[in-house]
Subunit: 230 residues, 2 copies
């Protein structure tokens, strides 16, 4: 069976890696079965060879694929039913949507959620998490999270192009979801499962869009519990 | 022949409406001929009936179409060679890219370019332009433009998802441009033809991307002169 290496938290049922959620929805989209293998940040030596120290990693028989984008391309090439992209242009434009989430949303989510991500690590992981992130940010976790109310407002604004689009059509893919929706869903799950931050009111078109995505594939997205402090 | 109502400036050869540029490239993409009819802001009574007071308007025989998005859909339905979208998902994702330009870029361009847009009006238009915009903004044009250096930096950052994408592929549509590229090109032309603001260095992947787009269709985009103060 396909194996998917995912990111563990100290909570049995909480998974917040946005990149891994992209792939879980994609596997379900194709009707494939797989086994999740969660590993902690300090357990990267448990990842299969070749090991680039990052999740997701997909293992399909003798094939090991890294990087969520490359995994999506692999899945469409190998399993040609229920394509994740219906055309070359759709695939190319999905790369833009991937970069939009990463350039416009992820840095802000890293800010608003940092103390929650830290808290979700078991005690044995917290030193590594703090030290590695503080070296990367050049400041303490508390300083990085800093003015979280301001970042939350900026994050809500940064979602505006998505809001305008899903007020007019059910999915970025149109009447049905495609990989670009799973990219955005990964980001929404990072917020929902990894943080206690509430960005969307129930009257926000993005709230309904997320509900539609959470309902897909027998509620696969809801199997990722919300952040426990809620 | 198809007629396209466009926005005039006091310069014979300067057209800066981003929405009209979307359609000019789309018509050329399909190999269609058309006649441009530029009108000033106060000449909206010259637009064809039914008149919603906005450009672009496309007149094709007895058919009058408003709104650049609806014009693109019309063109693909009526002229089925050289489609602007190669699939339903590609069309749906282009709507996201349209909203990205409008939500994330246009407000900032309106700020950095406002005094240039004003200056590009003939004297007979400037009172109308100032009064209507100041009512909309709730402040003077000078205040709206305000801290233009800060807005220019923010605008450069807001282009980041495009920058990341076109460093990896020639166009948003992939190996060839589609309507999502013409949407972004409209925005780039608004900056290039409507303002003296230089946002992209020659080593920026967006600079090369714009050059590729300017070269299309015998240099159609270059027929829109750069802003005269350069």
């Amino acid at each position: 069976m396909i194996q998917l290496f995912d990111l563990a938290t100290k909570y049995e049922n909480v998974r917040f890696s946005p990149f891994c959620w992209r792939i879980k929805l994609s596997l379900a989209h194709k009707g494939l079965e797989w086994k999740d293998i969660p590993v902690f940040f300090t357990e990267k030596h448990k990842l299969p060879t070749p090991n680039d120290q990052k999740v997701p990693v997909l293992v399909d028989g003798d094939t090991v694929i890294h990087d969520s984008w490359d995994i999506a391309l692999y899945l469409d090439k190998k399993y040609t039913d229920a394509l994740l992209f219906d055309s070359p242009e759709s695939m190319s434009q999905s790369l833009f949507i991937k970069h939009w989430t990463e350039a416009s949303l992820h840095a802000l989510i890293s800010r608003v959620g940092i103390m929650d991500f830290y808290e979700a690590q078991p005690e044995s992981e917290q030193d590594y998490f703090r030290t590695s992130r503080e070296a990367r940010f050049g400041m303490t976790l508390e300083q990085w999270g800093g003015d979280s109310e301001r970042y939350k407002v900026e994050l809500n604004q940064a979602f505006q192009p998505l809001r305008m689009t899903v007020s007019k059509q059910a999915y970025l893919g149109g009447v049905a979801p495609n990989f670009s929706d799973y990219i955005v869903f990964g980001t929404l799950q990072w917020l929902r499962c990894g943080t206690s931050v509430k960005v969307f009111n129930p009257d926000d078109p993005i709230y309904d869009y997320r509900e539609r995505l959470l309902d897909l594939y027998d509620g696969l997205g809801r199997s990722g519990a919300e952040y426990p402090s809620n």
